[in-house]
Amino acid sequence: MSARVAVLIFPGTNSEEETVRACHAAGLGAELVHWNADLDAVRAFDAYVLPGGFAYEDRVRAGAIAAHDRLMTAVREGAAAGKPVLGICNGAQILLESGLAPELDGRVRAQAGFARNAPLGKFRSTHVHVKLAVAPERCAITASLPGGTVLPCWASHAEGRLAADPTTIERLEREERVAFVYCDAAGNVTPAAVPNGSALGAAALTNARGNVLALMPHPERDAWTFMHHDASRDRARGDTAAMLSSSGGIALFAGLAAAVRR
């Protein structure tokens, strides 16, 4: 029996279908779980994925209302029990608002946030690459990936700039909470690769235990060649099998699958 992953839906979530497909492609038994689901049923899942979108229309702040949703009770309990939790884009914002990442000093409260993009404060949709910035085993979801793995993703957000006070930013780096940083296609970490002015060029944060990963860009939107953004897509045109072959983003879901089975 494959591991059961809950892909959580709040009012306004919009990336759940492609997230479920990416989980299935990685061999996970992913199911959509709505915000009004029975909590005991939600507690029975082996892992949780919070997909992208605009939960509760981003009222008050992106992720702020969903972070306090009753469904998050099961996610908090699961995270405390060591279950893998992956948040993508709005899901990552929810994880930071809930305090499940970065969890400095063991405190589950908001210590950082994804603020409006800099310098213009505007929504950006652009293809990006992110590079694993910690030892793979530091985070359960990346533990099966090679060191320095580069994933292709689509950034699609207005609030993706990691922000916190300078002391916290320094600690995030020193205490290995920054799991992925933006890079170019060759894996070079450069300021030009950062689409949103994020502190430390951070694209993802993890928690103290390493079982929670809050990733701003979308790997599920570059999971197959037809979604990819380089010459490989052009070469695959007219070849259905090639177009439907996996591209780099699926690696993160394979990592999630490995974490659930571990």
């Binding site: 008050v60 702040r61 702020a64 209302i65 908001a110 603020a115 404060g121 006070d165």
Partner: protein, 150 residues
């Protein structure tokens, strides 16, 4: 001179209702919650009235079918009120020509934008400082990148 212009909804504010429901569920006992956008401008006295006219004409700021625009007499939060802004946002003095939604604001030398939350206890009384603080810490402000003034 400092001029604070407030734009609030004349129609039901779903965002405020959601925030109120969430706060109540988290144990912050409020009777009502209101929200408004604030533009706090340091403007030359001769341009102060024109500033209001410019904002009234800016349809992404003010739509007369659904908004109420007023000039506030006070430059600070009132009782039961907290103003939230993003740390490092706004246009401080010396930051160059200031505009809103692409419209230049002549005579304005500094601009700060806030979300104002007005909190009420039973009987339409402004909420106590303790309740305002609890709501701010629980939901209304993420101190990692926002600042609360009350």
């Amino acid at each position: 001179m400092i001029r604070v212009i407030e734009v609030s909804l004349a129609i039901p504010d779903n965002e405020a209702r959601t925030a109120l429901a969430t706060l109540r569920r988290l144990g912050v006992e409020l009777a009502a919650l209101e929200r408004a956008d604030l533009y706090r401008c340091d403007v030359a006295e001769a341009d102060a009235d024109r500033l209001v006219d410019i904002l009234r004409a800016c349809e992404t700021v003010y739509n007369p079918n659904k908004h109420v625009l007023r000039v506030r007499a006070d430059g600070r939060p009132g009782p039961g009120e907290v103003w939230i802004d993003e740390i490092g946002s706004g246009s401080p003095p010396g930051s160059g020509p200031i505009s809103i939604a692409g419209r230049p604001l002549p005579g304005v030398v500094a601009l700060e934008r806030f979300t104002a939350w007005r909190l009420f206890s039973q009987g339409d009384r402004p909420a106590s400082a303790a309740l305002v603080s609890a709501a701010t810490e629980t939901l209304l402000c993420n101190p990692a990148f926002q600042k609360a003034t009350s």
